[in-house]
Structure formats: structure tokens, C-alpha cells
Amino acid sequence: MPVIDMSSNPQCERQHHSPVKAELVVVNANGTLKNVFVWIKSGLPSGRWPQPQQAARLDQNGCIYQPHVLGIMEGQQLEIFNDDPVNHNVHAESVVNPAWNESQPPRAEHKFKKFEAEEILFPVTCSVHPWMRAWVGVSPHPFFAVTGDDGSFSLKGVPPGTYTIEAVHEKYGRKEGKLTLAAGGSATLEFTYGG
């Protein structure tokens, strides 16, 4: 992974004790891929799914977005924090949902944003610090996850049925797999990316 050069803004650089690596491709120790957004693309019964009461959180900390990939439901609040002593602009580069670009100075109030339409994935960027990039997936239901340090994902509470599961990575793109889930059972699906 390439190291980020933060010298254009020393206040960002000072917040890190070691070089910061970009998260474009993060291969875990077990050879799996981190930061892959996984969701049920089709097969769910139609209807509205309850939204989480809690807002999803996107931090700007050390001039890095945390988390790097984030899933939220349609209409769910996204709370955006600026924990840095520097100005950021937050640019949601959504295509289906209206795009927006707003400044967020240090010590400014948190921003609350909503996305009302399904859109997987779109980048959120900061032009003050062009290495800053997060990815947001807006799902119409709560069955989505992002792979972590062991490359696994888990979708809980899924009703029985046959589904198309999609995995989306910012560099390696989209993969699909089929899965049938019996009542009260569980199933496993593995995605393999080449390159």
C-alpha cells in the first residue's frame, strides 16, 4: 500500500507517529481483502425495513476518514465529525442521491446527512486533503456488511429464501454470488478477487 504524503498540511502530519498507508487495497494477514462492501442485492421480500435509530458515524481523524467503507440504510442519519485541528470539506460524490460539498472547520458542529435512495458505492472526498476518501453504500434494507481484519462478513436476521449477494470493492469492482438460506439455518458464501 502506498504511503500518504501529508507534508502539504503539517498539522495532519503531526497527528501520526508513523507513516500512514492508503487503504485503497488492504490485504489482511490471512490473505483476505478488507473494506469490501457486501449486501443482499436481490431476493428479499418487498416491503419497508425498519431503520436503525442510531446514526452511522463518519470521522475525520488525523486527516483520514474512519471507517474507510461505511454502509447505511436509506433515510438513516449519517453523523460526520471533524476531530482534526484543520479545515475539511466533505464532498459526497453521489450520483443517484443529490451530491453535496460542504466545509467543516475545526470544532464545528457535527453534520447530519441523509441519503434517500439506494446507491452502492459512492466516494466521499476532501479536496483540502486529496488523499482523503471514504466509500458509502446506501442500502434499502439492513442486510449489508463490510469485511474487516479477517476478511469475513456476516449478515444476520435474514429471512429464508434465495438471494443474490454482491461484493463491491473500490478498486476490484463488483462480484455476485447466489445463496439459499433455509429457515433457522445459516449459509456461507465466498468471493474471490484476482489481481
Binding site: Q11, L24, V86, N87, N101, S103, C126, S127, V128, K171
Partner: protein
């Protein structure tokens, strides 16, 4: 063989205003700096680092950190160029006796105002490609206008042309306009590619066509009208600038490919791209100067014939 003859305009040194000329050169130089500053904004991906306009983070002077340095710096240079253009127009209106040049001063001011508004709109509407490309292309036209004003206000221009007749076997007056038109089209394709409206392939394919047109006209000047020093100089300048531009274009493209996976703009890529934009502006201005000098030094023989006919009829 073209024959050089004395100027019809004679000596018009009374038109020359040294201060106005030096101001016009300063305006053209600052405009080139503005083009460089604009190129830095795009190459550094800093176009949206200041989300508001006309203020920056609600202030006249935000903290100049990260991308804000480039975006707000661009706005500051633009404001300076706007001020210089206003003074230039007032100066031209006050002392210049050539009406068309006074009008050109007003056109320059209108262009820089339009340019500022386009710059603001592209920020507020999140860089739509057509506004951004129009902003980039008008920048090139405005720079050419400031160079033309510097040319027209120079002592050298006012001393009058050394005209030569057009060789009917090698006409060049009509071709003269083809060069700036082709260069402008190529610059627009480049701007559209930079703003991701089209692929770079269109700009790359346009390059040999524009280079061919430049060579065609410049070599025709050098082969058939070289006895005119002004035409010879501008043709050599255009060939030199064009070849530099082609080299910089190749270098900019290669660095973009080399750094395709980079998570931030890399210094070498930024350097070549900004130089490509700046020399693109110089190519445009030189092509405009070439067209102007061709049409000034090689009079339209049809007009002369028609005047002669009128005199004969009288």
C-alpha cells in the same frame, strides 16, 4: 515570389503610450500566472476545497492549508487580474484613439467577469464538466486577448507593418484563422478530458491534426514569406512552442499512467500537467498573434483590386 513594399499606414508614433503598453504586458504576464494557478487547482484536485463562493469559508482570507492554498490562491490571482483588466480598460478608453482597440478593452473586461462567474458557478454546482471546460477554454481566449492588447499597444505595432503581397500559388490569409481555431478546439478537448467528460483519446488524436495544421501554415510562411522578419519570427516561435507542447503532453500523459493508482496527485504529474496547460495557453496566444500578423502584413489582394476598380471608375 512575394514582394515586400512600404507600409500604407506610415509612422503613427503619436499613438504610442509607453505606460499603457507596459501595463498591457503586465496584464498578459499576470494572466499567464492565473492560467498556471488554475492548472494547479485542477491538477491538485483542489477545485472543491473551498465549497463557498465568492467568499472562502465565509471569509476573505481563509487558512491557506492543503488544497485551500491552491483554490483560494487562484481566486486571489484572479481578483488581481480582474483589477488590472479594469484599469487597462479605463486607460484604453481614456488615451487610445483606435476605436476597435477601446472596444477590445471592454471585451477583455467582460471576458474576465464572465470567467469569474464561470469559476464561481463551477464550484457551486460541483464541477459540471461543461462549466469547467468553458472556464478553462475562456481562460485561454482571455489570455490571447491580453497578449493581443499588448501587441496592439506596442511601439513596434504602431510603427506600421512591412507589407508583402500574397503569392496566389501559396495563399496564407485564409489559412491563418485555421490555426487558432484548431488550437482552441484542441484546448477544449483537453479541458473536457481533464474534467472527465470524455476520454483522453480525443485530445490525443487531436494532437497530430493540430500539429499538422500548425506546421502547414508555419512552414508555408518560412518557405514563401520568410523575407518578412515579423512573419518569420512568429512562425518559428509557433513551431517551437507547439513542439514543446507536444512533448509536455506526452510527459503529462505518461506520468498520469504511471501514477494511475496513486492516492493523491503526485508532484511530477502535477508539474508536467501544469506546464502543459501553461504552454497550451502560449500556443493559443502565439497562434492568435500569427493570424493577426499574417492578416496585417499580407493585405487582402481582392480588397486592393476592388479599391483600384473604384478609383478607375471614378
Amino acid at each position: 515570389m512575394a514582394v515586400e513594399k512600404a507600409s500604407h499606414q506610415g509612422n503613427q508614433r503619436g499613438l504610442y503610450h509607453g505606460g499603457l503598453y507596459r501595463w498591457s504586458v503586465l496584464l498578459a504576464f499576470c494572466t499567464l500566472l492565473l492560467v498556471v494557478a488554475g492548472g494547479m487547482v485542477t491538477s491538485r484536485d483542489a477545485g472543491l476545497s473551498v465549497p463557498d463562493w465568492p467568499l472562502s469559508y465565509g471569509k476573505l482570507m481563509p487558512p491557506m492549508e492543503g488544497g485551500i492554498l491552491y483554490e483560494h490562491g487562484h481566486r486571489m490571482v484572479a481578483t488581481t487580474v480582474g483589477m488590472l483588466t479594469i484599469i487597462s480598460m479605463i486607460w484604453l478608453l481614456k488615451v487610445e484613439s483606435r476605436r476597435w482597440l477601446r472596444i477590445l478593452g471592454v471585451v477583455a473586461l467582460l471576458a474576465v467577469i464572465t470567467q469569474g462567474v464561470l469559476g464561481g458557478l463551477t464550484v457551486l454546482y460541483l464541477l459540471p464538466w461543461w462549466i469547467s471546460s468553458a472556464h478553462a477554454s475562456l481562460a485561454q481566449l482571455f489570455f490571447s486577448t491580453t497578449v493581443a492588447i499588448a501587441l496592439f499597444t506596442s511601439d513596434w505595432w504602431i510603427r506600421g507593418p512591412r507589407q508583402i503581397g500574397e503569392d496566389p500559388r501559396y495563399p496564407v490569409r485564409g489559412l491563418s484563422l485555421a490555426v487558432p481555431v484548431c488550437v482552441l478546439a484542441q484546448l477544449f478537448l483537453g479541458a473536457a478530458a481533464r474534467h472527465k467528460a470524455i476520454g483522453s483519446i480525443y485530445h490525443i488524436c487531436g494532437s497530430p491534426i493540430v500539429t499538422g495544421v500548425v506546421l502547414w501554415v508555419a512552414l508555408r510562411i518560412l518557405l514563401h514569406y520568410a523575407e518578412n522578419r515579423e512573419l518569420r519570427a512568429i512562425a518559428i516561435t509557433l513551431i517551437t512552442v507547439t513542439f514543446c507542447q507536444v512533448f509536455l503532453g506526452i510527459a503529462a500523459y505518461m506520468t498520469r499512467i504511471a501514477y494511475a493508482d496513486a492516492v493523491q496527485p503526485m508532484p511530477l504529474m502535477v508539474t508536467f500537467t501544469v506546464l502543459h496547460v501553461a504552454v497550451g495557453a502560449l500556443t493559443m496566444a502565439t497562434s492568435v498573434a500569427l493570424a493577426i500578423l499574417i492578416r496585417r502584413n499580407i493585405p487582402d489582394s481582392r480588397v486592393e483590386f476592388s479599391r483600384a476598380d473604384s478609383v478607375a471608375a471614378a
